[in-house]
Subunit: 386 residues, 4 copies
């Protein structure tokens, strides 16, 4: 592994989401786990453990109102004390009874006002926490043909986005996320990257697209979207996770590690891995049945491994084969990198940085899991609904 | 419309599910509705209204433990007093904390025992209510490759099914439902009709397959499965609903009315519409955002309309065109029936039976919606988790 | 049916594609049919029959080089003599050996030059025939990860599109078509509406998107795309057909007539049905096993019927219910129109215009099918490869 | 790598298909390649090269009539002289004009007779070549709802299969392949494993299912089917290839190497890798744009690598973690094996057997590609239609 590869890996940053430390589930059942955080502070504490063990996860995304506190500045300070920082602020306009027929696209102007106000409040939180990114995901849509006017909803969406965009400070950005379906089952108001992209272009340079790797129709080539948005300068962030079917929210790299590698290959090939490229590499996962902290550690490692493989692609050989129209040769260059076992190299790199080469083993040995089970008794465990 | 068609429509029976009268939602939010039942008895009352207005929905499926009562015989009597009957008994082995890694396929024998005991308890409920059908849906599966042994889980499944099968009385049946995914996201232990069919054949003649129209992979031809199972004598029931994406559980006929017609065409063509064919035509839907009772009425009407169209297919002309290899001619016979507006005919039929020709208008005029909103105050509204 | 509805239906125009009159098939087999055209002139003759019988199909799309002739002006005159006109010009840069690795996105600049020159030649054909629309579909893409550089291919695409765009005359337009996959199986260079839209915006106002209804990932909501592009002023045309699986190219309305209705509802609701809206309603189908001319007539009728139903939607009632958040009510307004049997009304309209009320019966009675079988002997039947 | 693993890898056998050495393409275009075989004998010669270089591909599947010769015994002898053997016999009842509406399920009994006779002829070829397996894939199906009777087609299918089954010799088997769609676009008569399985059970022990890895609906869990059929004793063969969308027929392992590994894990876990288990591991691919022989070598290597990784799974640790309900631990056992770079080990194994450690480099160095380009001039290159 060349020094440039090592340097790139040392500089990689992955953001973990506060809600992944909390309980989650399906519409059928949320299986509660012992030791799960009860407060935003406890979520930060868990995230700090992940960062301490992996060395590459220094920021935590918040979800408002799941992580609502009285004093966000104080929360940010608490994070700093733990050695981490607050990352993106995620708005939540889907869990209030008012939002049954939509939030910013609701036919009722009063509901739209309420929803937009919440988005503006999230910018306040950004101001207080020093967050750069406002991540917007709208569950808005309809369940039945005719239920609402598709174009009118786009107008309402554009209006709300515009208002929020204008509120952003000079160093703040908007990340617009799209999703094919769920919880809406007929139309979704931002269903695909094209819709998100078109709104971002209309809004201005501070608006970029967030790709959640589980939010596509079957058969969608995600790395194509990555490459297209990179070329257009509109890729702002990833919500990493993996899926076999729909928005399964499994650990990233668990379902299709080769796809994750192909995505990271596009990132590396475009020189977009480093912080200066401004792309936020975030996890967005649900650990419904597996213990949360080790699952998140594992996810971080999976992203690291895919990145390491992508960095090993022989760019010169690849370009030569591509230019020559050598289909098998070009493919072989990519596959050679993917077939490489990068775990020893990453272990070595960790050791150099004073980390345990095996973060999962270190976590198991740390006693942290037992500690939080013992300590976090009483109160209400955080969850999607909390 | 010939008298035979009228007769067939008069004899049609559609079963409504007790849980469709209760609150439901997605993993993101359950939007509660006013007036929703708080008890099994109130669900029956609502179902009785649907039957009174449509004339074709005389039975209600129960879900245990959602509809758990002390005295099932008494509940059955209450239903009879309302002019309806208890239909299929649906087991629920997916909402207990023990079932996190599966119920009858759980690696832990104690959990398997508990789950199987619940299934046996459901047969007790059948004995008490006079139900013919035990409907089994298992959420069992795994989320991650390697999590459990696929074949071992089939062995455990076969064992549990066998024990329950042997417990069935002479006039009782087992309906085995399959589902592609959700809540399990890697493997599901009964993911497709082939798996359900193979187990049913192994079990014996009282085991048949239940087709939930929302439980298939994209692109699956459901009417093919209907036809195949009819030919094999193993179609036991439908769980009707409709979907654009995954298991959306929308009102049947709302997403693809032509598909519903094609399904009913296979039923009619095989002479399997009448009660003597033994196929249970059930709804299984979630009315997340629309009012529940009128949504169920609408669903019943949708099935009726699809059936009426299927009955209008000119079977002789169809067979002639098929035999002659007349692709366009055969297709046209089917499309002619589908293009027919059968609403006037169904309205006429209702009037003949002393029903309001427009059940939805009759419901709105009845004041029932207002009544239950006023009366059902306090207590806890029934829902999937209740 | 109000006079406005009648007027709209009288003014509707549907374009048929020259290649649908020719032989087609799958990669497994092309089943030749007797009487199939051998020349562009014979295709026009067949198209004229479809127009004569339906009254709404006055234009024919050409495919170059499948319809290459020495004198396009003369061909246009021949069409006029038959009572029809030349419609869109479709380029074909996928059947030359040089295009194995792409046409305008090929890594080899010489191949790109050749492909772009062909596109420019198509504009010459437009000049000669008076065609307004240049329809561009690119089969370009890759089969294997790594085979070529995704972003570089976009650059090449943008360059070729720009050159062709600048060549367009003041009254000429570019229709950019997208397709998920096939014949490329890993990446496709214009895989979705977002990609086509982004290029169109970059190009200028004469570039618009063409929606082929069979070119989407499973689960894609096509009417959403229709509505979005209408709102953005970038919907240029449809290639109508239907599909159960992939790009099946079946008769439009055959697989999901309700979807076709929903698409036409968006068109009607946006006031985009008339010629002044500039949207080309074209068929693009393969009649692999059914006789071609009656299949095309049937397809035209299917579009007419869907349009008639869309025109019957009570726009006022729909908007009221939508504004009130009445989910079931709004849906019912749409379903009422869909459930209506519009065939008698269309038959009446045809009779008023001096047409046979039943175009398919009129075709069968005309003896045309027998005539072309008898006359078109010898020569080579036109097909996709001819 | 333990000696048991080495032994298993030494014993692995992969069958290559004669048609993969010939030209293929999509419905849009077949790109001819220089040096492609013109005769069955030349296909065998190419296959012998693949075996010589890889050491694990000693058999070649034939496709009748693509590989029709006067004297099959002589062809088998020719193969033996080349150091290989004839493998499965693939019937082809989809390329004759008579089969437009189906072969064994055609509404016309004369066509059914012709098709069944062809299948019987294939058994004659098996007798002459010493082949064990008759592979049956039927393109039969319909394109339009109503076109034919779904159940009647199953009756016809069962009848033809029965007649062919009874013709099989004591050591001969029938492999029944299923496919979701293409070339039929509405119904396919054997669309899924359930249908194939049910017919096999009806036929008897010599009938087993063939899994083509590209023949499933999106989201289908193929390794589940593998495991289920292994448990039921009905898995007869694989047609390996890979796909991103539909039946893309790309090189196996090219689209989702992790899926291939999971499939091989089920095989290894069930002890079904060795010859005594009777499972035929065949390739069925189309090398539309890449050179054929190296693509096939690459495919063989991909299967080998996936197998090696599957053999490295720590079965004891996996079972322990599964039994303990350790989701992350069990998954990690699998992922550890997948992450291992097995290429050095396979290279070592090849060297031990006197093979070049790098079969692709050896092929390039051999001059064979240049030789066949120079020699195979004139005549007609073999292809799907030849």
């Amino acid at each position: 592994m060349s020094e440039a590869v090592r340097e790139a890996l040392r500089g990689q940053r992955i953001e973990t989401p506060s809600w992944a430390y909390a309980n989650s589930g399906t519409r059928f059942k949320v299986f509660a786990q012992a030791g799960v955080p009860r407060t935003p502070e406890e979520k930060l504490a868990d995230a700090a453990v992940v960062h301490r063990l992996t060395g590459v996860a220094p920021t935590v995304a918040l979800h408002i109102p799941w992580d609502r506190v009285d004093d966000y500045g104080k929360l940010a300070g608490y994070a700093r004390d733990l050695g981490i920082r607050i990352g993106a602020i995620n708005s939540n306009v889907f869990q209030d009874d008012d939002y049954k027929l939509g939030s910013v696209t609701n036919p009722d102007p009063a509901v739209r006002r309420k929803a937009t106000d919440h988005l503006l409040e999230c910018v306040d939180v950004m101001d207080a926490t020093g967050s750069r990114d406002l991540k917007l995901w709208f569950s808005d849509g309809t369940n039945y043909p005719g239920q609402d006017d598709i174009r009118a909803r786009q107008d309402r969406l554009a209006e709300a986005l515009g208002e929020v965009y204008r509120r952003l400070g000079p160093d703040q950005r908007m990340l617009l996320e799209y999703k094919l379906f769920e919880p809406a089952f007929y139309t979704t108001d931002v269903p695909d990257w094209g819709t998100a992209y078109a709104h971002c272009v209309e809004l201005g340079p501070k608006a970029t697209v967030c790709i959640d790797t589980g939010h596509h129709a079957p058969g969608t080539n995600i790395e194509f979207i990555v490459a297209f948005l990179l070329r257009a300068g509109r890729l702002g962030a990833f919500d990493f996770n993996s899926r076999f079917y729909a928005d399964d929210d499994l650990m990233v790299g668990a379902a299709d590690p080769f796809q994750l590698f192909r995505i990271m290959h596009e990132i590396v090939a475009a020189g977009a891995l480093g912080a200066e490229a401004g792309i936020a590499f975030m996890l967005d996962q649900c650990h419904n049945i597996e213990p949360k902290i080790p699952a998140i550690i594992r996810s971080v490692l999976n992203v690291q491994e895919a990145t390491a493989k992508a960095l090993l692609v022989d760019a010169k050989a690849l370009a030569d084969a591509q230019r020559a129209g050598d289909v098998l040769g070009a493919n072989a260059v990519l596959m050679d990198a993917f077939a490489t076992d990068v775990r020893p190299l990453l272990a070595e790199l960790r050791a150099e940085q004073g980390l345990d080469p095996d973060p999962l083993a270190a976590y198991r040995a740390s006693g942290y899991a037992e500690k939080i089970v013992a300590e976090r008794v009483g109160g209400e465990q955080a969850g999607w609904g909390a």
